[in-house]
């Protein structure tokens, strides 16, 4: 192991900004990063051990304790639960003889929980040694554990067939399915690679920016910042080197459209990054992909290699003198907050993914202090189509405020979960008809946990920056779902787990609000608890990044739109109740000292 660590460190030239890559390599090789590894890394990279440890401790998929020869990470998202995760989880526990969070005494199997892994349309799903297993049942769980005990390799453990499209590619061989249900300009498979590059190199960078601005394309990650403007800022910023980042960290529970683009249209994405690079004169691109999609690594590396061969990347691209650009892949290691652009940059620099204070914005001082553009996968793909067909063409889709199309990741209680590309301005009601719902729909979570939970009286609202802004995650809940217990509590747990802990508002308040919610659910709440949640929730707006600012949204939007669910659970006879239970509070001490609770 010492040799492997040494070789890995040398592979990355003793560069501490590549700490993530070094840690990922060691974690994958030996299932954990030992204290000896930490000492060795610290010495070789000229860092302190705590600096190495703080990066390790930040990410979900790094562990300083062994995680088993086979590490099973079972998704615990809302939709996984809706699709029968409990049975699967119980079967894993029973067959392996351990509970979640443990490793078998022989070190063979580790069972862990993990947040949404981008497979919401094929849940319950798990990651086992970086490979994805979808649509799990208790039967499959038993089979998998049996196969592990029989010493089978991961590849031998898949069921009969692989997924659709490039999921069958020899370098992917995954059971994941794309579930593309509706295509539009971005997902259109009839596209010739390299044409956009060929076109833009005959234009001035300013002309490209002006066309993108004219298209009114806005960032597809959710925040909706105008793409052309972002590029212009970066182009005008001063720095001896500039960077293009593609944000493929999609961690918002319920989103999986970037995974589908990475699988089916990686060449389109690479071309989009090259277009961005040409306009801001960036020489290096970093494709930051969430760890959960590591199963695509070899495939994507091959495609990058192919792009270099064809001179879509590399030196003097397509014959344009001085247009030099190449892309490297950076994997994350399991942290939702890294989807925030400055946290993503921090992470790519080998550090904890904590959002930075702004200003300066990344377009001025980003990766390694240099001007950096961070764009979402879908934004970069849209750019290619804008450049091929023009801004006017692009504006013919969608609304005046929200031009173009949006890829939606739709999951939950519907007949056809998957990826749908629709024009902005699409109503929630039409969306429900499009996916085919069974029975009455009680609510739709628009934009993931950080978005809003809306009820049927708002289904006439439309998707777009002017009404319901969304990064594309839509989760449908049928009438039988218990919104508070099954949805809101799960989302709050997610935010509590994913807070980076930097701002006290986001570190503390979600816990406090969840306790209030639990108090209400246990029947000990009063009306004031509801109003307290509403008042206190506002303080989260003081947090540094979007994660903290929206961390109360699951509770706040459900109170706003489903107040009756809360009101039916609070005590009406009392004005005030702290919810304190003396019997419960003395239970442990009584057990420890062996006495009766004579209170």
């Amino acid at each position: 192991m010492k040799n492997f660590t040494q070789k890995t460190i040398e592979k990355y030239h003793h560069d501490k900004t590549r700490l993530m890559d070094i840690l990922i390599a060691i974690q994958s090789e030996s299932g954990h990063i030992s204290p000896e590894n930490v000492t060795q890394i610290a010495n070789e990279l000229n860092m302190s051990e705590v600096d190495v440890e703080q990066t390790i401790s930040f990410y979900h998929f790094f562990s300083m304790k062994p995680t088993g020869k086979y590490s099973i990470y079972l998704n615990n998202s809302v939709v996984a639960n809706m699709m029968g995760r409990a049975d699967t989880a119980a079967a894993f526990e029973k067959e392996a003889g351990i509970t979640f969070g443990e490793v078998t005494p022989d070190g063979l199997i580790g069972l862990f929980e993990t947040a949404c892994i981008g497979m919401n349309d094929q849940e319950p799903a798990a990651i086992i040694n970086n490979r994805i297993f979808t649509r799990l049942t208790s039967f499959r769980a038993k089979e998998i554990i049996r196969d592990i005990k029989d010493g089978k390799k991961i590849e031998e453990m898949f069921s009969a067939s692989f997924g659709d499209g490039a999921n069958r590619n020899n370098l992917v061989k995954s059971v994941v399915t794309n579930n593309i249900r509706k295509i539009g300009p971005v997902l259109d498979p009839d596209y010739k690679v390299g044409e956009a590059i060929r076109k833009i190199i005959r234009m001035k960078p300013e002309e490209v920016i002006s066309e993108v601005k004219h298209s009114n394309l806005r960032g597809r990650g959710g925040a909706g910042f105008p793409t052309g403007l972002k590029w212009e800022f970066c182009r005008n910023a001063i720095g001896k080197k500039k960077y293009i980042f593609c944000n493929a960290d999609e961690g918002e529970p319920g989103t999986f459209k970037d995974r589908v683009i990475l699988t089916e249209l990686p060449r389109l994405l690479i071309e989009g990054m090259a277009v961005a690079a040409y306009t801001v004169e960036a020489s290096e691109g970093i494709l930051y992909i969430r760890y959960e999609y590591k199963y695509l690594e070899e495939y994507l590396e091959k495609i990058l290699e192919e792009a270099r061969m064809k001179n879509y990347l590399g030196k003097d691209i397509m014959g344009k003198k001085g247009f030099n650009f190449d892309i490297r892949i950076q994997f994350g290691a399991g942290a939702y907050v890294c989807g925030e652009e400055s946290a993503l940059i921090e992470s790519a620099e080998g550090k904890r993914g904590e959002p930075r204070d702004r200003p300066p914005f990344p377009v001025e001082k980003g990766y390694l202090g240099m001007p950096t553009v961070v764009n979402n996968v879908e934004t970069l793909c849209s750019v290619v189509k804008v450049m091929l067909n023009g801004g006017d063409w692009y504006r013919s889709f969608g609304t005046s405020e929200s031009t173009g199309t949006k890829l939606l990741s739709i999951s939950g209680d519907c007949r056809n979960p998957g990826v749908y590309e629709v024009s902005w301005g699409f109503s929630v009601h039409d969306m429900l008809e499009m996916v085919g719902t069974t029975g009455n729909v009680q609510a739709v979570q628009v934009g993931g946990p950080s978005g809003s939970l809306i009820g049927s009286d708002e289904f006439n609202r439309t998707l777009g920056y002017e009404d319901l802004a969304t990064g594309g995650s839509l989760i449908i809940f049928g009438e039988k779902r218990d919104l508070l217990n099954d949805v809101v509590v799960n989302f709050m747990d997610f935010f509590i787990e994913e807070s980076c802990g930097s701002c006290s508002t986001c570190r503390i308040l979600p816990n406090v609000l969840k306790k209030k919610l639990e108090k209400i659910l246990e029947g000990r709440g009063v009306e004031q608890d509801i109003t307290d949640i509403e008042t206190w929730g506002k303080f989260l707006k003081a947090s540094r990044c979007g994660l903290g600012q929206t961390a109360a949204n699951p509770i706040l939007t459900s109170i706003k739109n489903f107040r009756h669910l809360y009101e039916s659970k609070v005590q009406t006879r009392k004005e005030y109740d702290t919810g304190f239970d003396l019997q419960q509070a003395v239970k442990e001490a009584c057990e420890a000292s062996g006495r009766e609770p004579n209170i």
Binding site: Y576, T578, F580, L582, Q584, A585, V586, K587, E588, A589, C590, E591, A592, S593, G594, R595, E596, P597, N598, I599
Partner: protein, 182 residues
């Protein structure tokens, strides 16, 4: 008009807040003109003899007796005030909150380096002894508290101003030096 009645108690505290109350110096003479004291360690009245207007609570709740006393205060006092950090947040005693109470008791009575002669490994269990709670609770998590006076202890001036404001019905003066804590 009869004088407002004040009661005070120290729960899981160190009596520092009561010391701070005494720190109002000669104003204590004004205070006894202004109010009448009922149950309080200051006059050693052990049980409520009537309904009170104001209850000053020092300390949080670490055992069953603290809870009973606090609930008794809530029943007898119209206005309850958390005085000091322990009442407001649990304070120093709450440092044990990260450790299960079973481990705390075992360390104190069985495994600790200063434990001698407890060969039968007994954790005190006489029915007369109050029972420890699983953690130290701030007062407002047990009963409704009306006001909070921060500080460790709150300055005498702050306690004095608060009491006078409550009794006279005037707005409380809160100059910077009274509410800054470092």
């Amino acid at each position: 008009m009869s004088k407002p009645v004040v009661a005070t108690t120290s729960l899981a505290g160190c009596f520092g807040c009561h010391m701070s109350l005494l720190d109002i110096d000669e104003r204590i003479l004004d205070l006894i003109e202004l109010v009448e004291f009922n149950k309080s360690p200051i006059n050693d009245i052990k049980k409520f003899t009537k309904k009170c207007d104001i209850g000053l609570i020092e300390g949080g709740c670490c055992n069953s007796e603290n809870v009973h006393v606090l609930q008794d205060f809530r029943e007898h006092c119209q206005i309850l005030i958390s005085v000091g950090e322990c009442a407001i947040m649990g304070g120093l005693p709450a440092m044990r909150n990260g450790i299960p109470i079973k481990e705390c008791l075992e360390e104190a009575y069985i495994n600790g380096p200063t434990v001698k002669n407890n060969t039968e490994k007994i954790i005190p269990n006489d029915p007369e002894i109050p029972i420890m709670l699983d953690k130290v609770y701030p007062c407002h998590e047990v009963v409704k508290m009306d006001y909070h006076l921060p500080g460790c202890p709150p300055r005498a001036d702050l306690i004095w101003e608060a009491l006078v404001a409550l009794i006279t019905g005037n707005e409380m003066k809160l100059p910077y030096h009274v509410v800054k804590f470092d």
